[in-house]
């Protein structure tokens, strides 16, 4: 089967997902340069350190996603708290302060769907640990558009609910351990 080259990695997670990201990225090879976007539910009050914490664990340049910014290789973009993050046709980032979806802003569903609209089969969505169902609908939508879906093995997740929901809603998915996700990314 001819595979589209992956052009964007979207990562969605909630409680327990930071722990997974901090385990995954130190093991990702230095030649990995596919842009990564992290959409994580987080507490507005305690978020200021997130970019800094991540930047110690990856060679990618970690920064908060800014509106109208072009998605570039070698970068990890973090969705700012309290805004939805979308992707435009020209592969720039957009922010949106509309209603929360499933009590979430940023909504992983919105970001996955928006990325799938633009990237289709050249997108991979990774669903990590979390305590709500956000991400499942978006992963299902992306799945239909040919995006690759990777889900953290619920047995390895601190909070298994979000990966479980994603497994239930997607027809074609790959359930991987932390090590499995690492080797997948290193194979890109």
């Amino acid at each position: 089967m001819a595979q589209d080259k992956i052009a964007l990695v979207m990562i969605g997670g909630s409680s327990g997902s930071l722990d997974a990201i901090l385990k995954i990225f130190p093991k990702v090879n230095a030649h990995f340069s596919t842009p990564v976007i992290v959409v994580m539910h987080r507490n507005i009050a305690s978020d200021s350190m997130l970019e800094e914490v991540l930047s110690f664990r990856t060679h990618l340049k970690v920064k908060e996603a800014e509106e109208k910014e072009t998605i570039s290789p070698g970068h990890m973009y973090i969705a700012p708290p309290d805004y939805h993050l979308l992707i435009e046709k020209d592969r720039t980032l957009s922010l949106d302060y509309s209603e929360k979806i499933n009590f979430s802003r940023p909504s992983i569903d919105i970001s996955f769907e928006s990325a799938a609209d633009i990237y289709g089969a050249s997108l991979v969505c990774i669903v990590l640990s979390g305590a709500n169902a956000d991400g499942a609908k978006g992963a299902a939508y992306a799945n239909k558009l040919g995006s690759k879906i990777i889900i953290q093995d619920p047995l390895t997740a601190i909070v298994p609910f979000m990966p479980e929901q994603a497994i239930e809603h997607t027809s074609k998915n790959n359930v991987l351990s932390i090590e499995g996700i690492v080797s997948f990314l290193n194979g890109l």
């Binding site: 800014e66 509106e67 109208k68 700012p80 309290d82 805004y83 939805h84 979308l86 992707i87 435009e88 046709k89 957009s94 922010l95 949106d96 302060y97 509309s98 209603e99 919105i110 769907e113 928006s114 609209d117 239909k144």
Partner: protein
């Protein structure tokens, strides 16, 4: 035609926007498309039309329905004293400057249902300058303007607003500013008596007055770059020298044509001061 996969293609969206401009004069062509597309799609799905063509017919034959469409596809999410640190800065750093003027004119561009306008009026009252202030509040959407005029907000939101108010440095009893009745809180008329409400479209309308403070928070994020520049130039034309421009948390005048005329006044709260 629309596909059954519940997706509005880019081309369909572009056609729709062209027709809306031709028929109703509302130009959304320079809005950020990802967000607009999502909102139009969810509006269309909520309407349970038998086909996309049916939806277009309804939209272009029923002007009331079109206004409902405008109301739903533009984002009207707002709250009182949203980002309390921002209001704290207004209270402690900006109002002392504005208070030295004989008359204070403030423009809330994209005011939605008015929560931020009433918040500002409360700050002005507490600084004892409300009597010499006028708050101009505009939005593209006539329906939200009508709501804003009434000064009626959901009583259920008051607890959160009261917390925001206290975090902004408020020291009064917030509940003295409104009368709660059933599920609504009506803000005292001393506030609305200092407000002028009007529809104003940032895409097509021009400058209408000069102000010492312009607030436009979380509006520019919905516009493409070219339209952002137009709007910033419109604000510049409408702002006195030494006036203040306040944008949303994730918005900036950086890289715009007006940037050289301004200095950051509070970078974190996205407030600039016009120096030329």
């Amino acid at each position: 035609m629309i596909k059954t996969s519940n997706k509005i293609e880019w081309e369909e969206l572009e056609d729709l926007l062209v027709d809306i401009t031709d028929i109703y004069g509302y130009d959304f062509s320079q809005y950020s498309k990802a967000s607009l597309q999502r909102r139009i799609l969810s509006f269309y799905l909520k309407g349970r039309f038998s086909s996309y063509a049916d939806f277009r017919n309804k939209l272009f034959s029923d002007a009331y329905y079109f206004m409902y469409f405008v109301e739903e596809v533009t984002v009207n999410v707002t709250e009182m004293f949203r980002d309390p640190a921002f209001y704290k800065c207004l209270r402690e750093k900006i109002l002392p400057v504005l208070s030295t003027y004989p008359f204070i004119r403030i423009w809330h561009a994209g005011c939605s249902t008015g929560e931020e306008v009433y918040s500002m009026a409360i700050l002005l009252k507490e600084a004892n300058v409300l009597h010499k202030s006028l708050l101009y509040a505009t939005d593209i959407n006539p329906t939200v303007i009508e709501t804003a005029k009434t000064g009626l907000f959901k009583a259920s939101a008051m607890q959160q607003y009261s917390e925001n108010y206290i975090n902004s440095g408020g020291q009064k009893d917030f509940s003295t500013y409104y009368t709660a009745n059933y599920n609504l809180a009506k803000f005292n008329e001393e506030f609305s008596s200092r407000m002028v409400f009007s529809t104003h479209n940032l895409v097509s309308d021009s400058s209408f007055n000069e102000f010492q403070l312009i607030l436009c928070r979380n509006v520019l994020i919905y516009f493409e770059k070219k339209l952002q520049s137009r709007v910033l130039e419109l604000f510049d034309k409408s702002l006195d020298t030494l006036g203040f421009l306040a944008l949303g948390n994730k918005e900036s005048i950086k890289f715009s044509s007006i940037a050289p005329l301004y200095i950051p006044f509070n970078s974190k709260e996205k407030i600039w001061r016009k120096i030329k």
